[in-house]
């Protein structure tokens, strides 16, 4: 089982960015120009890097999509490569940008694309392709029944805009959900509300963390109990800030994360870690494992992880004998204002990489767009708690039937998965995304790292007070190079403070060298003039 490889990959990849942003600028690809028509007389071989959740159904949807597309376009061969985490895709893309061996089509996140496009003409802007009457959305020359532009969920399409251009198409969308052991909740004397609040979750979690004198937890009669486990602490911070109306970042890349509201969440994290009420995936393990073993009350994870949740979960990482029977409920993540819930929109998007041959790019676009057809959309979405990104799929008979059959069986129509899907479908307008810019991936990591460090420090009985948080902010700023992003980044030099001494010395030495060289040239010029005269 792998864990924790994402951050190093991102950090190292970030360090590589200047390499391809500058060194290769001189031999950058030309911008993509749309060919008049797709050349079906030529053979093309394209590469598609896909991400799955270690889920065989998803792998099959991808391989079926490739086969379906190749049947329609026999002159295009699609080589499929599977990944199981976005960090590795990101890292490999960065490495391959430098060597001009990127895939043609890649499942990725807009945050990552923001870094990819720091290379010149690396990723194809898609707006002109969207609008092309022959090969764009609903194009006349398409050999499949893809969505029209107005059949895309506009909100999801908007999430793929970077600097005013679409650099990706959405592929799937999910959000986070709170999976709850209702049996345990009720045994503690609480009723499950429709919308959880942070105050409720903390209060009940503290109660569930109480032990008997012999060290056994009262709530479950076991030696292990972590009432509240959060999988993605970056999301935890981001959503908390959004719910409280506090800043995180601006579209220009100004960093607003380090504010009083963030500190108030960190203080809550510290307090409830101390009571034993809270932990995280990175510190303990997957929330679903503890939930299914009766060792967790509130497990926050993606709706795309719904098939791992519940007594009858079709996917499991723990031995059958560790499962307990319990009633499970799916709710939106804890909220600050239950009347105005807010939750993250997340999920994979697909980008098309530029190549020297526009026909190859067009073949790639045709394949990328094929991923929006109903069979692929519904097939993949129903493998987990994802939702399709097209209204065309949402409104299809097949999808409506799929949702209506929730609970009919324990696999395709697993009730927890369909409940998680419905949660997002009914809250699309309450979802949000964070601004995308070069560096937004690092900011996201920093947001989560502050929660992880705080929780870890409390566990290690370190003093967690104002001085601790001050140092934490400073350390995290430095680690994620956020001290290089200041409000108004790109503004005046005065905001960057004084130059370090060595830099001043270097600049002074360069100036002196230029002055000496200038002096020598001037002296020679004057000497020659005197000689001629």
């Amino acid at each position: 089982m792998k864990r924790g490889k994402l951050f190093p990959a991102l950090l190292a990849a970030l360090l590589l960015v200047p390499l391809f942003a500058s060194c290769h600028g001189s031999r950058a690809l030309d911008p993509f120009v749309m060919p008049e028509s797709f050349d079906t007389g030529r053979q093309f071989e394209i590469t598609f890097w896909a991400k799955n959740d270690t889920n065989k159904t998803q792998m099959k949807v991808y391989t079926d999509a490739v086969a379906g597309f190749e049947a329609l376009y026999p002159n295009v061969k699609v080589n499929l490569r599977f990944y199981t985490d976005y960090g590795r895709i990101y890292n490999d893309v960065i490495t391959n940008i430098a060597t001009r061996t990127t895939p043609n089509v890649c499942v990725t996140y807009p945050d990552h694309i923001a870094t990819y496009i720091t290379g010149v003409n690396t990723v194809v802007p898609l707006d002109s392709l969207f609008a092309d009457p022959s090969y764009g959305f609903g194009g006349s020359e398409l050999r499949y029944d893809g969505p029209e532009r107005d059949e895309m969920v506009e909100k999801f399409l908007d999430e793929c805009v970077i600097d005013g251009e679409h650099y990706a198409i959405p592929f799937m969308r999910s959000t986070e959900a709170c999976y709850i052991n209702v049996t345990m909740l009720e045994s503690l004397g609480y009723e499950l509300p429709d919308v959880l609040t942070w105050d409720f979750v903390w209060e009940v979690s503290d109660r569930a963390a109480e032990k008997r004198e012999d060290g056994i937890y009262k709530a479950n009669g076991q030696k292990t109990m972590i009432p509240f486990i959060y999988k993605s602490t970056d999301n935890m911070m981001i959503q908390y800030l959004a719910q409280r109306g506090a800043g995180y970042s601006t579209p220009e890349g100004d960093i607003l994360l380090f504010n009083d509201t963030a500190l108030s969440l960190l203080r809550d994290v510290a307090r409830h870690t101390a009571t034993g009420a809270f932990s995280t995936f990175k510190i303990s393990s997957y929330p679903g494992n503890f939930l299914n073993a009766g060792q967790c009350l509130f497990a926050v994870d993606s709706t795309a992880g719904a098939t791992w949740m519940g007594s009858l979960a079709p996917h499991a990482d723990i031995p059958p004998e560790q499962f307990v029977e319990y009633e499970i409920a799916v709710r939106p993540i804890p909220q600050a204002d239950p009347e105005n819930p807010k939750m993250i929109s997340q999920g994979p998007s697909v980008c098309v990489f530029n190549k020297s041959d526009p026909q190859e790019v067009l073949a790639s676009w045709l394949f990328a767009q094929y991923l929006l057809t109903n069979d692929v959309q519904i097939g993949y979405a129903s493998s987990e708690g994802y939702i399709p990104v097209t209204k065309k799929a949402h409104q299809s008979e097949a999808y409506r039937e799929y949702l209506e059959r929730g609970g009919e069986d324990g696999l395709e129509h697993y009730d927890v998965k369909i409940a998680a899907t419905q949660l997002l479908l009914s809250n699309i307008d309450r979802t949000f995304v964070t601004p995308v810019f070069n560096g937004s991936a690092s900011l996201r990591d920093a947001a989560g790292q502050m929660i992880e460090n705080t929780s870890k420090s409390v566990r290690r009985r370190e003093t967690v007070d104002d001085a601790y948080f001050e140092k934490l902010v400073s350390d995290v700023r430095s680690l994620y190079r956020l001290d290089q992003h200041t409000p108004g980044a790109g503004g005046s030099g005065a905001e960057l403070g004084k130059l370090p001494g060595p830099s001043v010395a270097l600049i002074a030495a360069l100036l002196v060298a230029w002055l000496v060289m200038g002096g020598v040239v001037l002296a020679r010029f004057l000497h020659n003039r005197e000689g001629k005269s």
């Binding site: 792998k2 864990r3 950090l11 499929l80 510190i283 393990s285 997957y286 566990r459």
Partner: protein, 235 residues
């Protein structure tokens, strides 16, 4: 002649004791394995141990399987330069300072630093076949161990003898199941430890359901025993 032989034998014994004591002797402030074992989670621990295998290095962090003669210590992402990582070979003695942590049942030393010391010890694989399925197996967590006479079972309903985590690119772990006395256990070839070009990776790719195998590897834990296998021999 007898006196000479006796003298030679005595000298050999002295050398053996000296060599042995090198792995016994703990530096100042260093825990014995028993003390480490008894330490509470999230407390700081200091141990002297010997590298048995390197799992990965990335971004100046090393993950290592280590062991002394009393027990094993899994070192998760210790601060480590690439140059220092290159110096680590099976047997290298290191002094590790970090925090005892648990992730999905795996006891490890996290957020650690280490320094290389003088000394060498390579553990022999300890046969724990008879402990499979018992509560005593966990006492050998992270050790270099062997399993003998195990039968390969179908990994899933497809009937395959193993499963790739990445079936297309083969760039991730391999999973397989083996049984003994009617009970089946999950085993793994951890890709960072043994990639697709290693003998063990290829050997597992060649397994057939029903094969009888002997295996060696590290007794990693993930919600139960999840050995990271380093060699497989089909009987």
């Amino acid at each position: 002649m007898k006196k000479l032989l006796l003298l030679a034998f005595a000298l050999m014994m002295v050398f053996a004791v000296v060599a042995c004591s090198d792995t016994d002797k703990k530096g100042e402030g260093v825990m014995t394995y028993a003390e480490y074992d008894a330490a509470e989670l999230q407390t700081q621990v200091v141990v002297e141990t010997y590298v048995q295998a390197k799992q990965s290095w990335w971004d100046n962090k090393a993950t290592l399987y280590t062991q002394d003669k009393d027990g094993a210590y899994f070192i998760y992402e210790a601060a480590c330069s690439e140059a220092d990582y290159a110096k680590l070979t099976p047997g290298t003695k290191i002094k590790v300072t970090g925090y005892k942590a648990e992730w999905s049942g795996e006891i490890e030393i996290a957020d650690a630093t280490f320094e290389i010391e003088t000394g060498n010890y390579v553990a022999k694989a300890e046969d724990v076949t008879s402990l499979l399925g018992t509560d005593d197996l966990v006492k050998h967590q992270n050790k270099f161990v062997s399993f003998k006479g195990m039968k390969v079972e179908a990994y899933d309903e497809s009937g395959a003898a193993f499963a790739y985590k990445d079936p297309e690119g083969k760039s991730d772990d391999l999973y397989f199941k083996v049984s003994k006395d009617g009970k089946t256990y999950d085993f793994c070839v951890e890709y960072y430890l043994c990639g697709k070009d290693t003998d063990v990776y290829k050997a597992v790719e060649g397994l057939k359901v029903g094969d009888t195998v002997d295996m060696e590897g590290f007794l990693y834990w993930y919600n139960g025993a999840n050995p990271h296998i380093t060699s497989v021999t089909v009987k």
